[in-house]
Amino acid sequence: MSVLVDADTRVVVQGITGGEGKFHAEQMIEYGTNVVAGAVPGKGGQEVAGVPVYDTVHEAVRQEDADASVVFVPPAFAADALFEALDTSLDLVVAITEGIPTQDMATVNRRLSETDTHLVGPNCPGVITPGEAKLGILPGNIFASGNVGLVSRSGTLTYQVVDNLTNRGIGQTTAIGIGGDPIIGTSFIDALELFEADPETEAVAMCGEIGGEDEEEAAEYIATQMDTPVAAFIAGRTAPPGKRMGHAGAIVSGSGTGTAESKINALNDAGVPVGDTPEEVADHIEGYL
């Protein structure tokens, strides 16, 4: 079992003719992902990475029965690509693109609320079910199949924590990179709900960071509605207020919200241990299994 993606997921790659889109389509296929098509306006009829390219996502869905998409479309056109994907009733849309204007994402988010589609991202590394499929740019070789779910706002920090787990023989059901932007599709709570409902996921590692209140809301959900044990890492304890730490969403506002301290306290109050190092997170997870 897994969440969101498995070996049967039929993937269309939006932006497959671009440098990044092509490279990662090949990487996804090499990993074993069932990539069935690409979609790029004006490029219909071509073949890239061994799969047919269609002018529209609708046609890719009609011809190849795609049920998920990965979006590598540049920021200026990404919102349009996401609307197109949402309009085809795919089960899952994974937006890798970094730098989509926040107001564009607000309208996408509004449209998303009227659909049954899961949107992961934007500005995220993607989703992987080890040994089955990866939708995104995650390096497949550090993952291993197992019983721990992982959800994270940061790409490379995900890799770090996964590495700590895999190195001691702890595999993963699915890892979800939800992205570091202020407005994202799948929140921590959405991801935690998926893992809670998955019988194979025995524990969840959660990597948060400063900014926003998503981690605090997740803590409330864990305390009241979750049986699966969770261990967490929160990045940005040493971040000064008012400075954006790389991610558009990673900023402690002047009024004191979004601090690491508030997130760690909320998680501790919910019974979630927060590791001082990624290695400590792995210790906690190992203790759960």
Partner: protein
């Protein structure tokens, strides 16, 4: 990207929001000329990206030429919380009976815009938000429709704005929302919106911050950027295109990916060190970018030791290793000890390429950070 007050006021005024008569000045003589043209009293306001300018001495009121000259002398050229003041806005002082707050921003939690009104403007609105949040009326806006006029009225009435100006204030709020949307702003704010004895409203201050990610479709706004860096290193980082934040410690930190770099800072702190900076080289960095990153950190005189932590996804360990070798081979003596940890894509190739006569290599994040902290302590002792 943050616009200066005078730039934001220009945009607000063009959209029909009442603002005081004003002139921009860069010398004491220009300030005095402006005062004479506008008529007293006038306010002299430093044009820097600093909150709480008034409290910090960046805003003065003058009632005659002598006072104005004195105020201009004091403010022009001053150092305001680390920012150099090279221009001031001189504007007619507004005689007010009430100060309101209007703002539009993105509500992250709801994923939609929110318009805010308070009848307790003019003070630090963040302390109002913390201590008496009920004093700020908040109206969520569906981004698909934009703000309906009734929503502006609702927020204004709920904030308890004086009834004789409620229509005028609602109209300003509608315009402010339209500006926020059309300029791809992250924040649009008027604090205070002054209410005069005669029942007029005037925007006495103006904030318009634009989403950096949307600047590609606003070349006119991008041209208005006058970012004043407090710090030469932050300026240099801007030129190199790095996400960089300078801190006060002595352990220099370079990594890839915002979350991992933040985590590396936290670990330096956890193991008793003091981080000197946040530097994210981003995804897929080539050798030259790595060289530039090392140049950045070596240029910081506070740095005694460096930790280079890369977990490759799209970034390749061999490229990083080449960049490190290139950067360090330029020196007869390595200026500061560098600890390198490479993991992920092509990490083993990178480890083979790395010239271990130039750097110290560690396999895990925890070991790399501890060694860099120890190196820094050694330099200090």
């Amino acid at each position: 990207m943050r616009l200066h007050e005078y730039q934001a006021k220009g945009i607000f005024a063009d959209a029909g929001i009442p603002t005081p008569d004003s002139r921009l000045a860069t010398s004491v003589d220009e300030v005095v000329d402006a005062g004479a043209a506008l008529g007293y009293p006038v306010a002299v306001k430093a044009q820097v990206h600093v909150g709480g300018r008034g409290k910090a001495g960046g805003i003065e009121i003058a009632t005659d030429d002598d006072e104005l000259r004195e105020a201009a002398d004091a403010i022009l050229g001053m150092d305001l919380k680390g920012y150099h003041v090279d221009r001031v806005l001189v504007e007619s002082a507004v005689d007010f009976v009430n100060e309101l707050y209007l703002g539009v921003t993105m509500d992250r939690g709801e994923g939609e815009p929110v318009a805010m009104v308070s009848s307790e403007g003019g003070v630090d609105i963040e302390s109002v938000a913390e201590e008496t949040p009920e004093a700020i009326a908040r109206e969520g806006v569906d981004p698909a429709f934009g703000m309906h006029p009734y929503q502006a009225r609702k927020a204004v009435y709920e904030a308890g704005v004086p009834r004789d100006v409620s229509r005028a204030v609602a109209s300003v709020l509608e315009t402010l929302y339209d500006l926020w949307e059309s300029k791809d702003a992250s924040e649009a704010e008027i604090n205070p919106l002054m209410v005069t004895d005669g029942g007029d409203v005037v925007a006495a201050d103006a904030v318009l911050n634009v989403d950096d990610d949307a600047l590609f479709r606003h070349p006119d706004l991008a041209d208005m950027e006058e970012e004043s860096y407090t710090d030469d290193l932050e300026r240099k980082a801007g030129e190199y295109g790095f996400d960089y934040v300078r801190l006060s410690g002595n352990v220099g930190i370079i990594g890839n990916g915002a979350g991992l770099v933040m985590a590396t800072l936290d670990l330096v702190d956890h193991y008793g060190g003091d981080p000197a900076n946040f530097l994210d080289i981003g995804g897929g960095a080539k050798a030259e970018r790595v060289t530039n990153a090392l140049d950045m950190v070596f240029s910081d005189p506070n740095v005694d030791s460096v930790v280079f932590n890369i977990f490759g996804g799209i970034t390749r360990g061999d490229e990083v290793a080449r960049g490190i070798n290139d950067a360090l081979s330029q020196f007869d003596e390595i200026p500061k000890p560098v600890v390198v940890r490479l993991a992920g894509t092509n990490a083993s190739e990178g480890m083979e390429i790395l010239d271990t006569s130039l750097v110290q290599v560690e396999e895990t994040l925890e070991d790399a950070v501890q060694r860099a902290v120890a190196n820094a302590e050694e330099v200090q002792s």
